[in-house]
Symmetry: C2
Subunit: 375 residues, 2 copies
């Protein structure tokens, strides 16, 4: 195995593949990155037991880059990546397998690293057959960003640490919840697939990091694995097994009060209130309204102090007497995930969840559970 | 005590003063920031037992800002600073002492924080008499940045954790060393002072953070304290007591080889070599030269690999047979602190310190001790 490649091209590939390689993998060879020279392409593979990324670099177009000798090598990602990062830009680097070592040469810089045994490297899974379900990279990224933050950081129910992807009637719905808040985002998709899959957060993070937002991504769901494929990249991920809770019963069907408010102004107020709510287990912030139709946000911490502010909604419909306490941190995170400038809030009473939606848009919804008021 | 001030002005002051306020100070009141309204100025004070900063804000020029009622209050910096940070820009905030509480009002935002007892706040030291020694903010900043990194992070000899400032014959020399490397920077100053002072790193960091580089700073050294004063800021610092080692005996008087080299190229090479030197206690990197007059940098870690590269010096004078090992991390830090593009290296032999200077400049000097080669 011997190849010549631009340092910049290799840096970009390692930046994507390197992140999924674990420092302490279940089998030692997985601490390495696999470089495979096949015809006029370099295939860069990295992964652990949960996720693998395969990036293909086409060397045909560049007269200086080439696979000098076909073959495979595996080299520890830690040193290899750091070394390539520090190689000068706009230069050619030669990478050559020499028995158990890997020689890396770039101009007057000569390096040798110990290799790993490429025969120990596990085979990557087979891509499921068919054309897959096509989705624009930018839409996929948007949907993930609007939901993944709401998943449980840790939970005895493993399913809650992932995001539920539900395919039904030419629609994909992503749902994440930690039982105190929930984020939901749906979009139309050309597929007749019906099925539900729970994707680990790490997969979604790496997906957002590695895909080209301008490209279309093909998705291949299967029983235990989800595969994403773009022009030059394949990402395999295991799925979280288990049954995701049925969220339909917790989504409020009606509301007593509907308020439209400027998102930026509301977020600033919640973040100020959060300052004095941090001593409470649930970051208790209280939102109230009386007949004047103005929103009041308040929080307090005995010994430290209290904060209260008023803000003028854009519109109020329904019942004006309103008081509900909630976790201000969860509320702020929901608002931050919304791109739009106006949001609609729905209230069903002090012990009913609050619904947050971008104004005039039904594809995104956030639910925040009420908490017992601290005072 | 009551005042009206622009949120932006107060944010800027707290950004400087807030950093020197400790979360767990020796006396509880020092966890607060002191606001003092005197005539048409607000004086903002913060500090701990080692360092105090006093920032004066002149409210005369602004028609909307004013001291409504003269007086003093102390409020916990943690909540106050976070709260003011989150107040809208371009707004006026009213701060009012109400018995043991502090009321903070900004438009529709009303906050009350518990205050601290201003009578417990320790008196700030008296500024020593006289005009002080004047130095341009930019020069002071430059001198600090070129030396402070070389001080010991921790050492049984407390003096080595500071930077030695030596005034003599209208010159200020700053010296920092951790015994394995040394940084020295001198500059001419209009003063007939002769004396030596050891300044804590924290003081130097806060000084660089708080002073206006375009202003002149007046310095007032005294036996146990050093005072810095600019137009609107005073910084008091305790000094480190003890005798700083005499460094004159370790500065090489002659050299066998003088090399001029491009700093950027050398730094890149050292940083690559450092990658494979990190397992050694002293990050052993070896620099060598033979009759071809090229510099070779190398390092190796058994099990992992080795690196070697050549680089062409701009000029070589003297003995060409040369081999010396040193701590590559210290060498890289010295190079990074140098602004100039060319550096001069002087070598006296494999067991003599290496001298690094910006080319054709004698006011800055770095020394790196040799280490025993790892192979």
């Amino acid at each position: 195995m011997e190849l010549i490649i631009h340092t910049d091209t290799l840096k970009k590939a390692l930046y994507i593949v390197g992140r999924v390689i674990s420092a302490n993998p279940s089998i030692p060879v997985l601490s390495g990155v696999k470089l495979e020279g096949v015809k006029e392409s370099l295939i860069v593979t990295g992964g652990d037991s949960d996720i693998s990324i395969i990036k293909t670099i086409d060397l045909k177009e560049s007269p200086q880059e080439e696979i000098v000798e076909q073959g495979t090598l595996v080299v520890p990602i830690k040193y290899f990546h750091e070394l390539i990062k520090r190689m000068p830009n706009n230069s050619l680097v030669t990478i050559k397998k020499l028995y158990k070592k890997v020689q890396i040469t770039c101009g007057d810089i000569e390096t040798t690293l110990s290799g790993l045994n490429e025969e120990d490297y596990p085979a990557v899974p087979e891509k499921p057959p068919g054309d897959g379900i096509s989705i624009k990279g930018s839409l996929l990224t948007e949907m993930i960003k609007e939901t993944q933050f709401a998943a449980a950081k840790s939970d005895t129910r493993a399913v809650l640490t992932g995001v539920n992807w539900n395919f039904k009637e030419e629609e994909l719905t992503m749902i994440a919840t930690n039982s105190q808040r929930l984020a939901l985002r749906k979009a139309s998709l050309k597929t007749n697939l019906t099925g539900t899959f729970i994707l680990p957060i790490k997969t979604l993070t790496e997906l957002v990091h590695s895909i080209d937002k301008h490209q279309f991504i093909n998705m291949y769901p299967s029983e235990s694995m989800f595969t994403f494929q773009s022009e030059d990249l394949i990402l395999y991920s295991r799925l979280i097994s288990g049954t995701y809770p049925d969220i339909n019963r917790i989504i409020p069907k009606d509301s007593a009060t509907e308020v439209v408010v400027k998102k930026g102004r509301l977020l600033e107020g919640i973040e100020r209130a959060n300052l004095l709510a941090a001593q409470w287990k649930n970051n208790n912030v209280t939102l109230s309204m009386n007949m004047d139709g103005k929103i009041r946000l308040s929080s307090s911490t005995s010994e430290v102090g209290q904060i209260q502010e008023r803000l003028e909604p854009v519109d109020v419909q329904g019942e004006r007497n309103l008081k509900v306490s909630f976790d201000g941190k969860f509320f702020a995170e929901a608002l931050k995930s919304i791109q739009e400038e106006l949001v609609s809030l729905s209230f069903g009473g002090s012990m009913r969840p609050i619904t947050i939606k971008p104004y005039n848009k039904t594809s995104t919804m956030h639910l925040i559970s009420p908490v017992r008021a601290s005072s």
